[in-house]
């Protein structure tokens, strides 16, 4: 039982639920009769996809993507070959950048600072967050457009039920 949870349920449970939410949303978009219910279904569909994207960036035991590296004292060790060999991007990339701007701006103070190495596995992946953050705000703006069109349909046909709207359209619109 414990093995079932750890091996099968835990790695994929989230993705199953996203697929189920997507199915609920899609079913509502196709089968529901009321236009506002359709829009709620569309929003659920959208959130399922956004959830899927964000959960791709989740890492086990990772913190939120806000990290100010603590400066460590400048030393040859952190700057020289050893840092590069270890893959210490923070220190290794610092060196050419400083060389370039050297002399133009008074960098003498900054040059003494090197930052501790950040372990990328301990910070959640920020890229899906960025993409989905804008998608949410754009989503509510487009939802507003959809709701405006719904109100326009209500003004034209006097109803937001799909079958009644279709009846009026097929009947040539003599109801008015």
């Amino acid at each position: 039982m414990e093995q079932l949870v750890e091996q099968i349920l835990e790695p994929h449970f989230n993705f199953w639920i996203y697929v189920i939410l997507m199915m609920i949303g899609l079913w509502a978009v196709i089968a529901k009769n009321n236009l506002i219910k359709k829009l709620i279904g569309l929003s659920i569909f959208q959130t399922a996809i956004i959830l899927f994207y964000v959960s791709l960036g989740v890492k086990e035991d990772a913190t939120i993507p806000i990290k100010k590296p603590t400066p460590i004292e400048y030393s040859e060790k952190a700057y020289g070959g050893e840092a590069e060999a270890k893959g210490d991007y923070a220190a290794a990339d610092k060196a050419p950048a400083d060389k370039k701007t050297d002399g133009k701006t008074g960098d003498s103070k900054k040059k003494k600072k090197a930052y501790e190495k950040i372990n990328p596995d301990k910070i959640a992946n920020p890229l899906p967050h960025v993409l989905m953050l804008t998608a949410i705000v754009v989503g509510v703006a487009t939802l507003g457009v959809a709701l405006a069109i719904t109100q326009m349909i209500f003004k034209e046909f006097g109803t937001v039920e799909e079958d009644e709207v279709l009846k009026v359209i097929k009947g040539g619109g003599q109801d008015d």
Partner: protein, 264 residues
């Protein structure tokens, strides 16, 4: 009924295929999955570059803000334009709706939810206290977005929500008095122009569009990193203007059928 059967079949097929496909996914929370660590599991994936290099490049601890406003600035600019375009679209749709209505019929159909003022005192007073707090918090969110969760989109939505709260608590006119229709569309356009302006100024100074590092002499900063940080703040303010104005305009138009009179 037929549509329900058809929908069930379509949804079951789609969902079944996706559920089957889920088995090939990397497990949830795996730090070595392709989105997190690159295709070959190496250390050169884009997100790892962002995590390790953001503070060196722009002195911004919040990686999400830095990626949003700097590395992917072009994307965000056109997201802002999409929000602006959606606001214009709603304005066009609802206005044609509102002007076509004759007022007599309008009054019959409208639900009236303001039964006099006697029971609005408590809500009105609380909202008068709460709205400034919300607005100050929104400004904090915009300005402090480099160091804590927040930024232009969140702060803009909060500012817009404060005006919506004002409109809900008393009347739409009370909110429109503070932020009239002319002003909010001007603000929305100004927001997009601020964003594009940062890009264009960078272009005039000889760099690429939205490459903030060259704005250093204009912003009187210590180095190109701080110039990028300050430019991000400017860009976020532009985003906040647009999002605030458009959120309020969507509410104002949707709640009154485009007439901008007497609201919910």
């Amino acid at each position: 009924m037929l549509s329900k059967v058809f929908a069930t079949i379509a949804v079951v097929i789609t969902g079944g295929l996706l559920l089957y496909g889920v088995y090939d996914f990397p497990s949830f929370g795996d730090p070595n999955s392709p989105p997190n660590a690159g295709v070959e599991g190496g250390a050169d994936s884009v997100s790892q570059y962002f995590i390790t290099q953001t503070y060196n490049d722009s002195k911004v601890p919040n990686i999400v803000t830095a990626v949003l406003a700097d590395y992917r600035g072009y994307d965000t600019m056109f997201e802002t334009v999409v929000v602006f375009a959606a606001g214009i679209a709603i304005f066009c749709i609802m206005r044609s709706l509102g002007n076509a209505n004759d007022p007599a019929k309008e009054k019959d159909e409208m639900h009236s939810f303001t039964h006099g003022d006697h029971n609005r005192i408590i809500i009105g007073t609380t909202c008068r206290i709460v709205v400034p707090i919300v607005q100050i918090f929104a400004l904090y969110v915009i300005a402090h977005g480099h160091y804590s969760p927040g930024g232009g989109f969140q702060g803009g939505v909060l500012l817009g929500a404060s005006f919506i709260l004002l409109a809900l608590s008393s009347d739409l006119n009370a909110a429109l008095k503070r932020l009239s229709e002319k002003n909010y569309f001007a603000l929305a356009a100004i927001g997009v122009l601020i964003y594009a302006g940062f890009g264009l100024v960078a272009q005039f100074l000889g760099a690429n569009f939205l490459e903030y590092g060259v704005l250093q002499p204009l912003l009187f900063t210590d180095g190109p990193e701080m110039a990028r940080s300050h430019s991000m703040l400017g860009v976020e303010i532009g985003v906040a203007f647009t999002v605030m104005a458009i959120m309020f305009s969507i509410y104002a138009n949707l709640s009154t059928r485009g007439t901008l009179k007497n609201g919910l």
